[in-house]
Every structure is written in structure tokens, then in C-alpha cells.
Symmetry: D2
Subunit: 328 residues, 4 copies
């Protein structure tokens, strides 16, 4: 039986809490949140105890922590948890500042604890099938990757202001997908972007529409297309192309129903947003984390993945700002 | 908080148990099974108590029962539970004998308890969308229904022998779908069938491949196509056609991935069988049952639905045996 | 160089004329029609000569005729052409009366001329792929066939009155498909039907909506679903099911475009009607006829196919009228 | 009746010849080719006369010419035809050298003749639907375009050497699509490329795999993905994205058939190459040219479209060579 503390009882924390609580081999022991009522509500649901983070980490029999608090607390909580010897699952990103990230990861490495980053898309059944097909050479030698990633609607401008911007907040998921699929680290990043959705985003110093090309040393290429708004809902598709063929993962379907009338053929839009689309992926990523702790193995998505995605996001931002490609 | 006893701790009983246990407003209080170890294992998982059926029904504070034991016990357990004043969720069928069914339903009616039958397909998100579209006249006036229903592989011949035969065991689901979608009771049934999958099924006096046409008083028609075996997996599709258009529900997809190679375009087969395909439907049917008890309303699928599906199955069998259509 | 006379310069005659005229090895020598202007217009287009049918058949160097005149003239023109020793391509049906058909085919057999019937769907690229897959055992042993066939809108009631009725005029195509795919002659036919589209069709003694089940001696089954009206356009689909899998041919697409908006995903309806849908099939059927003449081989769709389709249509009509299956 | 001379009797010339010859209002009067036998064969088929280009242009009653000879003759033949006052349909490109193109177009402008460029994809029914949807604001304000364009296999290296390279020979079609869809001229081009298909292409100084991003003054973006080889056949897809939705044109289907077996679901690959895929588009582009001459209006794809596509191709090549975006 693994015992876990959950730091952060918001929407994503609740989801992680439910995902570990449903397992027979996990005890969700503690919940902490800056809002005590939120913590209490979640704790009641899973028969857990509300404690402070310090109290949780002081429990020497506690095995692991899930960090689902606000982004600005991640690095500090990772460090504290690592020093307390706990295995760590942390929502991405580690931090928006690459130096903070590196300092944090140095602590993790020193302590030797397991750290798993919440790049949930790596656990999407469709994208996994793509990655596995690439690994098994089902499309021969990989040559090109195309990632489409569009949110149904932009977050509040207040969130935009503290988000780190589109490249670090949104595209970072796609950059992680790119690294995962490309099979080698990109050596060049070119980014271009516009503010077409909401002028307030531009006033906040950010963009809402972007295209990026990554290139690897062996000549593989990846294009990413991002928008903060898609009228038809959450749009998450990937295509991989190689010497022996192509494979693509389409959006998940809300249902399989087609209506044929005089007006044409109509299907429903895909699931609305990430909670609906990646519900299964969230469960699988936590399962992998728990399984890894139980088995004493390293989780598949680690600190360096968090670091490298940020390096690419920073490079994309720099490319956009300078107008020229950035070499890595 | 609703308290429930579960009768039957097999595969489907476990599923129902998990579906009610995950709710905050339900206490799975008792589990009974002819195999005590199975009952104990399930009871442990959900902090329930293993008791005999008699003990469970004797608890006057128990609200409801879920009957997931073997088919031959259904009618008797429904009657006992009804007399004890419990709301009842029962797996289909009530019984394979129409007279038994009617006797059982007379008891239910007398006691006035709620009875919900486990026609899980009515809770499939895709088929519900069809039914709703028909109800909302999205395809105008309904004229034709086409139901395709094929199992991945036939059950053991020993099961076939006690199953009541293809019409009562398998097609009964499709006959329920037909009634639900047609919006009026069929007045004529024609059935034809063959044994093409396994000669032992024929030796057991049953068929494994069948086609049926139902017709209603207003002239609507429904065709059903059944096979006990489909090489590509569980095949469950419905099409409704009306004066203003057509709507169809395709099989659920295992994933959204397409592989394009020199050999053509390839997709994965649908989910393997009913547990995978109707996982969500099983959850929704139990939710509806619990919600109905809480709200004090009648569940949507009641005893008469169980009775009428069996009437149609019997008529189909008779039509197949006599070679002529059966009027109802 | 093959020389051909075209009898009938209407819509379908013009199509056949264009299909043979585009070949380098065919001379469209004569055009005949009861409307001289129609004949002249077509003749001018293809540098042919307008003559009477008698004149055309009197030309001993003429190789073949295409009969695309009204249905009631088919049998008589086939006989006259056969006696004149011409290879014959004739639009279906030979006649609406089975005795006429048999008398006509006796003449054809006596004269030994080649006769090809215009069952255009046999030349549809999609249905051919199905038939070939069945022949190559790609779905193992064939067990079930499902044919959906719906016209966009009913013909004028005046046409209905002389058409021979839905079974002989419309379903006859589907019955031919069934025979072609089933690989053995049906031994039993059950039909049911309604008049749901237009009450005037009922007043004319016909139906507009029908379902049929065919069964063969080895136990294969075929279901056919017909409607004289489909709001979404011409609906022509076939599914074949066997021991090793299933294959289906969907409607042809008007284009490959999908529009994704807040209202859902939208595609265009299929091509409007048979001229659009079967344009290529019409060309291929004429090509096969010409190629067969050139090569001196028998065309694939002969007089017996015309006869048997009518036998099945008559049986379906009789089944509908008597309410019981008809044995053949 | 319009009279036309065809310069070039190769594969594409034959296609254009057949497309105009099938019209009632066009006389294909002359055919010229450097290979007299090829010219004669085509002339025989369409009852045309084999003459030299000079003779053809000297016929003052000749209305128009179709230039389908080798690329290096285009500019010169355009100039000669323009000076002879003939309406001109010319296969793309005008020339591979932008200065030659501009000189040639100056002559055309001076003479005032109609010039139509063979950007066949503009006449593809699917891409036209996209362009029309964009024009009608069906996806709101256009923001992003994604063009995928992959050939089934690379041309011979000898062709590569004289082709002008991937950007001028292959991507030029996609750049034309981009201009057509974007609705404003790109102001920036970034290109990256690799040689992954065939090292001999690299030795010939060219690339075989490329990605490009275009940006317009208003912030619209377009990404293009090119490969000289696709194992699954000719891959030609476009997606447009805007404030109110997304629209995409998939590859044309070879047929509508799906095979379901234990191995999964299988469809055929798209039509093999451009002649199969764009057969209809070739016909429509010639129809538009002839209709424009008859009506005395300007064809929709003119000299400037040829020039601008080459400007973009040159910019893409320069960006690839310098490693930085090129401003226009």
C-alpha cells in the first residue's frame, strides 16, 4: 500500500486525487491547499486528512506527493518534497524560468527521488499508438511530424499575464510531443506568431496564434500549429510521416453518430476540452507513477523532459521575438 | 444515502458493484453469492458485508437490490425483493418463460416497488442520440430501422443449451432496441435463421445467424441482422431512416489512429466485447436507477419492457420454426 | 472497328451513345428514336446517321445494337435484333412479364447472338470490389448480405403506374446485386412493404417503402431495404459479411471536404442520383460489351440474369401480397 | 466554334487535347510536337492537322493555343503566340527564371491577349470548395492554412537536375494554393529542408523534403509540408482555419470500400498520382479557358499568378540556403 499526499485541491488536483483513490493499493493520506475548505471537501471524499504541506512532508512513512498547486509553487514544493525523500508527481511546468528549473532539478538529482512530470498527452491512447508505431518503424524512418493544437477558447487575460505566454504555457505540450516523437533533440527552432483572437492578449505582451518549425540534426522536421481559440472545440491532432508511410491520430469523437439530411451529413464536435479529452490519459499517467513507485523503477517522463520542453519554448519565443531561427 | 444489496458477485455483478460504490450517495451494504469467496472478495473491496439473500432482504432499512445472479434465479429474486419492499435493478431477462415473467411482474405490480431492467444498450451514448433524434423528429417521421448486432465469437455450447436460444438470449437486446426506436409495438414478426458458425450449435437445437423483419401497425419496418461470430469484433450498429433523413450510430472506435502504408489505410477494430463497448452504458443505467430511487420516480426501463422483448423473441422463434410471419 | 446502332435517344441513350463514341474502335453508325429531332441531335453530335430501326437492322455489316428505348419495346427489339444477327446491349428490364421474357430469351438463344443486360451497378467500382472480395474469400465464407437502396425522390405517379411497381422497377436492381453477391440462387423470398412517402402511390396500387429477406439453400441470407425517397440523396450501400470478416461499400462522396464549426462537423451529401453516381459504371458496362464483341466472348451479364431478377421481383411482390414467404 | 492549336503532344498535351476535343464548340485544329509521330498520333485521334508552330501561329483564323511542351520552351512560345494575337493556355511554369518571366509577361501585357496558367489544383473540386468557403466567411476570418503535398515517388534524378529544384518545381503548386487561399500576398517566407529520400537528389544540389511557413501583413500564416515520396501514394490535403471554424479537404478516395477482418479495418490508398487525382481538374481548367475566350472575359489564373508563385519559390529557396526568413 502506497501512501500519497496531494498538494492542491483545485480542479486538476481533484482529478488526480480521484485517480489514485480508486486504486486498491494506494492510500490518499493527506490533502493540502491554500483554501482549507477545498482541501477539506476533497479529504472528506477520499477519507484523507487535511494537513499543512510541512506536516505532510514530516510524515516519514509517506511515500509520495502529487503537486497540483499553482505553477509558481512547483519548484519550491519539488525541492521540499525531494529533500523529504518523497517520490514526486508534479503538474507541468516545473517553473517558467529555466534557471529555476535547473536549480530545482539539481536538488532532485542530489536526493535521488523519483520525479514524474504531468505531460498528460504522452498517455493519450491515440498519441501513444503513434509513438509506438514510430518506435516499431511501422512508418519506416521518421521524417516529418505535424502537430495541431488548438484550445476551444482563450483563458482570461489575467491568466495570460502570469502564464509565461503561449510558447511556455500552451505550446510546451506540443514541444514535448515533438521531442517524444522525433526521437532526437531538435537543433533548430523557428517560430512565427500573431495576435488574431483577442487584442487584449497582444496588450498583455502575448500572442494567440503561432506556427513553429523544429529541425533535428539528422534532418527530421516538425511543424506545430497553435491557436488559443477553435470554434469547433479542442483540436488535438498529430501526424507522423516516414519512409514507409504515414500515421495520424485524429480528435477523439464525442459519439459515433452521423445525421444525414437535406442539409448534408452532420457529426458532433470532439469532446470540449482537456478534462474530457484526456480523462483517460490523466488516469494512465497517475497509474504509471504509482506503478513505478511500487516497482521501484523510474517514471517515463522525468525532470529532463520538463527542462527540455522549456528550453524549446524559450527558443521559440526568442525566435518569434528576433525573427530568425534559434540554434540549440 | 441509499443502501443497496448486490445479489451475484460474478463479472457483471462486480461491474454493477463498482458503479454504485463510486457514488457518494450510495452505500453498497451487502453482497450475496452462491460462491462465498467471490462475495467476500467483492465485499472487501467496497467495505460491504457478506450475508445471505434472506438476511439482506430482512434488513428493513435496506433501500434497493441489484440482481446479477444467474438467469434462472431472476424471477424468484425479483418476487422476494418486491415482497420485501425493495427497489429492484435486475439484469435481463426476467425469465425465459413468458408465463413466469407475467407471474413475476404481477407480484411486482402488487407490491408497487420500482423495477428497472438491465437493457444496457438503451444507455449507450450513441444509441441514445439516435433515439433522441427520432423523438425530436430530426429525421422527420420514422419509417425504417436497421439493427446490426454480432458477437465476436459464440459462447460455449453448454451455455447455448441453457440460454433460451439466439432469439431469447441475444436478439432480445435488438428487439428491445427496435421497440424503443420504433415508437409503437410491432404487430408482425418474420424471422429466418441458419447455423453457419458452429454445427454443435445446430445439434444443440439453436441457430447462430439470423435475420428478422418487424412491422408496426402504421407501416414502419425494422430489420435485424444477428451473428454469433464476427472476425473483426463486437459489431453493434443501428440506422434509423425517416421522411426527413437518416441517422446512424457506428461502432465505437478503439482509437482514432489511421496508418497509411503501401498496403492501404488501416484502423483498429472496435472494442472487443460488451464490457468494453458498454462500460459507460453500464454506469449510466445504474446511475439512472439510483437517481430514480432518490427522486422517487419510475426508472425508464421497466418490467413491461422485459416482457415485451420476450414476447417478440418468442414470436421470432415461432416464425423461424413455422416458416411464416407471426402476428401479434 | 465495331459498328453500332443506338435505339433510343433519350437521356440514357445519349449517355450510352457518348460512352461508345469516345472509343477509337467503335463507329456509332445509326441512331433511331420515335422523336426524330432527338435522334438527329444525337446523330449530329457523333457523326451518325438517323435511320429507322428496320433500316439499321437491314445493314448486314452492322455489328451490334444498343437498346435504350422505352421498356415496353425492349423484348420486341431484342427479338428483331437477334434475328438480324446483331450483338445486343439492352437496358434492363427485358420485359415486366416473365413469360414475355422467356419467349424473348428463347429467340436470343436460338440465334446465338450475344446479349448484355444493363445492370449498371455490377460495374460500379465499389460494388465490384465487394464482389471480388467475396469471390476471393477475403471475408471467408459468405453468410449475409445487406443492401440499402433509396432514391432521392419518387418518380411521377404516372410513371409508377406503368413501372411494374417498386419490386419490378426499383428493387430488381437490388435483387440482381443479391444474386451476384450471394453466389447461389435464393430459394426463398419474404417481402413486406408500406406506402409511407406518397399516398398517391398507394392509390396507384404500389408501395414506396419495402424490406425483403432472401435465403439460399446453404443458409445464406440477404436483406434489402428500399425507399422511393431519401432526403439526403441517392443512397446505395452494400455490406457483405462472412466467416472471416465484413466488407462494405459506402455511398460515393461528392467531395472530400469537411467543415468544422460550433454547429458540428458537416460533409456534403452523396451525388444526387444514378446518372451522377453511376457515371463511371455506365461507361464500364458499355466498354465490357464492346470488348466482349471484339474478343468474341460472352458478356458477363446475360439474359438469364434479366430473367432471374424478374423471377425474384415477382416472388417478392407475391410474398408482399400474400403475407407469407415464397419458395422458389 | 473556337479553333485551337496544341503545342506538345506528350502525356499532358494529350490530356489537354482530349479535354478540348470533347467539347462541341471547339475545333482542335493543329498539333505540333518535336516528335512528329507523337503529333501525328494525337492529330489522327482528334481529326487535327500536324503543322509547325510557325504555321499554326500564321493561321490568322486560329483563336487560341495550348502550350504543353517542355518547360524551357514556355516563355518563348507564350511570346510568339501573344505576338500572333492568340489566347494562350500554358502549363506552369512560365519559366524558372524570374527575369525571363517578367520579360515574357511584359510582351503578353503589351499584346493584350488572354493568358491562362495551368495551376490545375485551383480547379480541384475539393480545394475549390475550401476557397469558396473562405471567400464566403464560412470559417469566419481566415487565420491559418496548412498544405500537405507529397508525391508518391521522386522523379528521375535527371529530371531533378533541370527541374529548378523542389521549391520551383513542386512546392510552386502549394505556394500558388497558399496565395489563392490566404487572400493577401505573403510578406515573409521561412523554409527548411532535408534530403531524406534519395542521396542522389542531394548530390544534384536539391532537397526532397521541406517545410515552409508563410506570413502575411495581417498576421495570417500558412505552413507547407512537402516530400518527394509517400509510400501510400499521392498525398494532397489542405486545411483552412479561421475565427469561426475549420475546413479541410482530404485526399480523394479510390473507392468507398472498407474491409473489416481480424487484422483491423482496411481501406484502399488514394488515387496514385496527379493524372488520376486531378483528372477532373484538368478538364475544368480547360473548360474555363475555352469559356473565357468564348465570353471574352479574363481567365481566373493569369500571368501574375505564375510570376508570384515563382517569386515565393525563389524566396523559399533563398531562405533555405541562408537559414533565415526572407522578407518580400
Amino acid at each position: 500500500m502506497i501512501s500519497i499526499a496531494l498538494f492542491g485541491a483545485g480542479r486538476i488536483g481533484s482529478l488526480h486525487g480521484a485517480n489514485v483513490a480508486r486504486r486498491d493499493d494506494v492510500e490518499l493520506r493527506y490533502v493540502s491547499d491554500v483554501f482549507p475548505e477545498a482541501a477539506q471537501k476533497l479529504a472528506d471524499k477520499f477519507s484523507a486528512q487535511v494537513v499543512s504541506i510541512e506536516e505532510a512532508l514530516a510524515d516519514s512513512s509517506l511515500d509520495a506527493v502529487i503537486i497540483a498547486s499553482s505553477t509558481d509553487t512547483h519548484a519550491q514544493l519539488i525541492e521540499a518534497s525531494a529533500k523529504a525523500g518523497k517520490a514526486i508527481f508534479c503538474e507541468k511546468p516545473i517553473d517558467l524560468d529555466i534557471q529555476q528549473v535547473e536549480a530545482c532539478l539539481a536538488v532532485v538529482e542530489e536526493t535521488g527521488v523519483a520525479l514524474s512530470l504531468g505531460f498528460n498527452r504522452r498517455f493519450d491512447i491515440n498519441f501513444r499508438a503513434l509513438q509506438q508505431a514510430v518506435a516499431e518503424q511501422k512508418i519506416g524512418n521518421l521524417e516529418m511530424v505535424s502537430i495541431t493544437s488548438r484550445d476551444p477558447s482563450p483563458p482570461p487575460v489575467d491568466y495570460i499575464k502570469v502564464s509565461g505566454g503561449l510558447f511556455r504555457d500552451m505550446m510546451i505540450h506540443d514541444l514535448d510531443m515533438a521531442r517524444w516523437l522525433l526521437g532526437e533533440e531538435p537543433s533548430e527552432v523557428f517560430a512565427t506568431a500573431s495576435c488574431l483572437v483577442n487584442p487584449e492578449i497582444e496588450q498583455a505582451g502575448d500572442v494567440d496564434t503561432a506556427m513553429v518549425i523544429l529541425k533535428t540534426p539528422s534532418g527530421r522536421m516538425c511543424q506545430i500549429s497553435n491557436s488559443r481559440r477553435a470554434a469547433y472545440g479542442y483540436d488535438q491532432r498529430i501526424e507522423v510521416f516516414g519512409s514507409a508511410g504515414m500515421m495520424r491520430a485524429e480528435n477523439a469523437a464525442s459519439n459515433t453518430v452521423e445525421l444525414f439530411t437535406e442539409a448534408g451529413v452532420r457529426k458532433d464536435n470532439p469532446p470540449h476540452f482537456f478534462l474530457e479529452r484526456y480523462m483517460d490519459a490523466y488516469q494512465r499517467e497517475l497509474d504509471e507513477f504509482v506503478d513505478a513507485i511500487v516497482a521501484g523503477v523510474t517514471p517515463s517522463v522525468g525532470g529532463n523532459d520538463g527542462r527540455m520542453a522549456l528550453v524549446l519554448a524559450d527558443a521559440a519565443l526568442q525566435s518569434y521575438q528576433t525573427g530568425v531561427p534559434v540554434k540549440l
